[in-house]
Symmetry: C2
């Protein structure tokens, strides 16, 4: 059943069957083609790719601003390098793809497809880092990485080829320098998700859920419409764990060799899964203007006697908008206006400008907002200014609405029963003493995961662990997770 | 021995030992790090990556202008799809990497790492193409592809991971439509190499050297400083060969199903190998301004009594240039001007602006060109204008010089002995009847390859095949090749 049909018959498809809505919108809006003949591998349609390009453009700009340098390391990692860091390999050995053959020959050394690039980069970082003057080193790349997922795969969310892994890797002198880098990364990611209007929790993952080989892990989780959280970004303080394995040393100011401290942090196309899911509705995508491949569509409402004049005005508007660096498209294809509205709404275009014979007479146009469906009559001479202003308003409105909805789905819980109830629709906020036994009990009873301690909030001094009753000032989030 | 040392002792290292010069410049100018521990895999330094980004930016713009859409297809191709096109697989089976294991399990169906993406894309093209209204379909992607090279590998030239393969794939109704697309691709690639100031031949490859599965192949070859040609781009007319294998059919205007005609065309990071090799000298890179990561470096010549004033002026200049969208850098690091010149010359920065105490007094600056070493004194008030103008001049000068040198290394040959002599330094231009036996003889006797018939030139009507003497109006190029 199509999204629109579903709407007519049963109400909101997105709310009632999110999973079906998600699969349908990916295809209909031409984000991903799911028909590739291997499980967990998908094809980016040109429209989806254009969205990806804009989203990653924001991320690249934020990293570049903070002096990260983009580089590119090989996909294939020789087995001996890959196997060096014991904890790391334990974390990944179940899901690494191995290349054993090249042409008709067996390879002397099997090659791993990177599941992440620590073991590809760090042997080279050893060569790049010689002295304290080389630090900090801040490198990132945007690459494809691979995981042999045995669980149910899902486009943009659980993949065998993660096509768009932005991974940053930094090297510092001291543990404190690396911790400051973690803080910078938190700020960068916060700005990034803010610009996509994706609200999120920022938690320090519990010890047993950290990145294999990290001192600690901080994670960003977004709340999906089905009430489950999606991990959309992680930041790891690696301490000297990898530098000791890969012998990354620098000469300090006293001429002594020291092991470097490292961090790494990553974001994948899950950010686009969250973007689509959080903003979309039963008519299709709703995209923040910053990332929308098309920001404004102009649709002429043509009648035979005035069509020439209308088209002329539409072309002028389109070229004015383009000159003002707005990504505008004039849809002068055959077809009725209604079916054009349908098509461009599906693609999430933030603003639609309609111009018909009466508008020409009045020297005005109609602007329709995708996010609120509000219509506004605007004099032609103010059209550019008003369009620019509305594009800004749309983002602010999306940020406001998603934040409100996010907050309303976070529930403070004092008992396990409350947790069980809250996580049906959102995130439970609890006090937890930090003890693993208590955590296991929470996770089992509620059939949910501990996201970790919130890094930005503190509880009251009289909060007590929801299990053992021990005092705890730490705020902990619990949710069902992807 | 360093490039500069070599220069002092023996003359031009680039001319006398190109291979050594090439390897050294890649590392010293921080294009590629060759120390990755797997043969044929290399690391893009941040500087090299910035150059790559600019070069591929030009290529993307040219494709986008001609309505190509960027998409992204999976790296891994299931064996059964990969094995469908018999001629294609014969062309690649010796060099395909195979993934046989995922995690601790053997895969049911082995997965090939794409050596090129026909067999990944065309099963999906079958779904995307339904009717003549869907045509032409013009898709491209920029991806990593893999070849298990057994020959000597070389950074940017002969790789096991081609990190930057821009491959375009198009679908058309008729063979003629596809041929017109081939012509469009020739124009796009010609513009691309023109903008990099890389002269080239454009030849129709002989039958035995065409792409496996193509009706015919057109190739762009650049001339490297050692007199060997480097294939830097190829364009293939695929006819209906793949559409019949992958069942890509469209409904024509009469409602009948027809097999589609296809083309594909690719460019890899070899274009950057040619760029570096053709323009560089014994002091380092020389980059066309369009692709130079830094276009202008400003170097203050500081003395203690005037350094504050000099730095102030330099900062102002740098910010003026940046405002005019020029990629300018102020090098106010510690260190003597001489060592800064050395560093930025190595990186191929097109223009250097020097400002010392006397310049401040005169309200002027010195601009030094990397391509000619010419110095010019310019009043500060004309500095921006003059910088912009010189950046344009540099590209034109590079185009002029490389074209002249290229032409002077193409030699018309009437005998096999002349061919043998000419190809020591460049390309032999001959008449060849088109017969394979004659070609084999030429290739054997001269120990060289037939590049093919020039697509843009015709010989005189009285030209005769260099082997059998049969009349031929076709101009054929012969060279030693990479």
């Amino acid at each position: 059943m199509s999204i629109t049909k579903y709407l007519e018959v049963t109400g909101s498809m997105k709310e009632e069957n999110f999973s079906e809505w998600y699969n349908e919108i990916l295809g209909k809006a031409e984000i991903m083609d799911v028909r590739y003949p291997v499980k967990g591998l998908y094809v980016w349609y040109p429209f989806g790719f254009a969205l990806r390009k804009n989203v990653y453009g924001i991320l690249r700009d934020l990293l570049d601003e903070k002096d990260h340098l983009e580089a590119l390391f090989p996909l294939l990692i020789p087995k001996d390098e890959f196997m060096k860091e014991a904890e790391h390999i334990r974390g990944f050995e179940d899901e690494v793809y191995w290349v054993d053959r090249g042409g008709l020959d067996k390879l002397d050394v099997p090659l791993a497809l990177r599941p992440t690039s620590e073991t590809a980069m760090y042997p080279i970082f050893k060569l790049w880092v010689r002295s304290h003057a080389d630090l900090p080193l801040k490198i990132y790349q945007v690459v494809n990485t691979f995981r042999h997922e045995t669980k149910h795969t899902r486009p943009l969310i659980r993949l065998r080829e993660i096509t768009s892994f932005k991974e940053a890797h930094t090297v510092h002198a001291t543990w404190e320098d690396a911790e400051n880098q973690v803080k910078e990364a938190v700020k960068i990611y916060s700005k990034f998700f803010q610009s996509l209007a994706i609200p999120h929790t920022i938690c320090k993952r519990p010890e047993w859920d950290k990145f294999p080989g990290a001192d600690y892990t901080i994670a960003f989780d977004a709340l999906m419409p089905d009430g489950k959280t999606l991990q959309v970004g992680t930041i790891h303080h690696l301490g000297t764990n990898f530098s000791k394995t890969f012998d990354i040393q620098y000469e300090d100011e006293n001429g002594e060799q020291q092991y470097a401290n490292q961090t790494c942090y990553g974001i994948s196309e899950r950010c686009i899964a969250a973007l689509i899911s959080i903003h979309g509705d039963d008519r299709g995508l709703i995209l923040p203007p910053e990332v929308a491949p098309t920001q404004v569509v102009i649709i002429p409402i043509m009648f035979s006697d005035s069509s020439k004049e209308i088209l002329k005005v539409c072309k002028k508007i389109c070229s004015d908008l383009k000159n003002a660096k707005i990504r505008a498209v004039l849809d002068d294809s055959d077809g009725r206006p209604g079916s054009k509205y349908y098509k461009w709404e599906l693609k999430g275009v933030p603003l639609r400008i309609e111009i018909g014979p009466r508008d020409i007479e009045n020297k005005s146009a109609i602007i329709v907002r995708r996010d609120t469906s509000e219509k506004e009559k605007v004099p032609l001479e103010e059209l550019l200014e008003q369009t620019e202003s509305l594009l800004g308003t749309v983002l602010k409105n999306l940020q406001k609405n998603t934040k409100k909805s996010f907050k309303s789905n976070i529930c403070v819980c004092k008992t396990l029963d409350q947790v069980k109830e809250s996580i049906k629709v959102g995130i439970a906020k609890i006090a937890w003493c930090g003890n693993e036994d208590c955590a296991r009990l929470i996770e089992e009873k509620a059939d949910a995961d501990i996201l970790g301690e919130s890094i930005n909030e503190k509880g009251d001094s009289d909060c007590n662990c929801i299990v053992c009753g021990k005092g705890s000032e730490k705020i902990t989030y619990v949710a069902r997770t992807y």
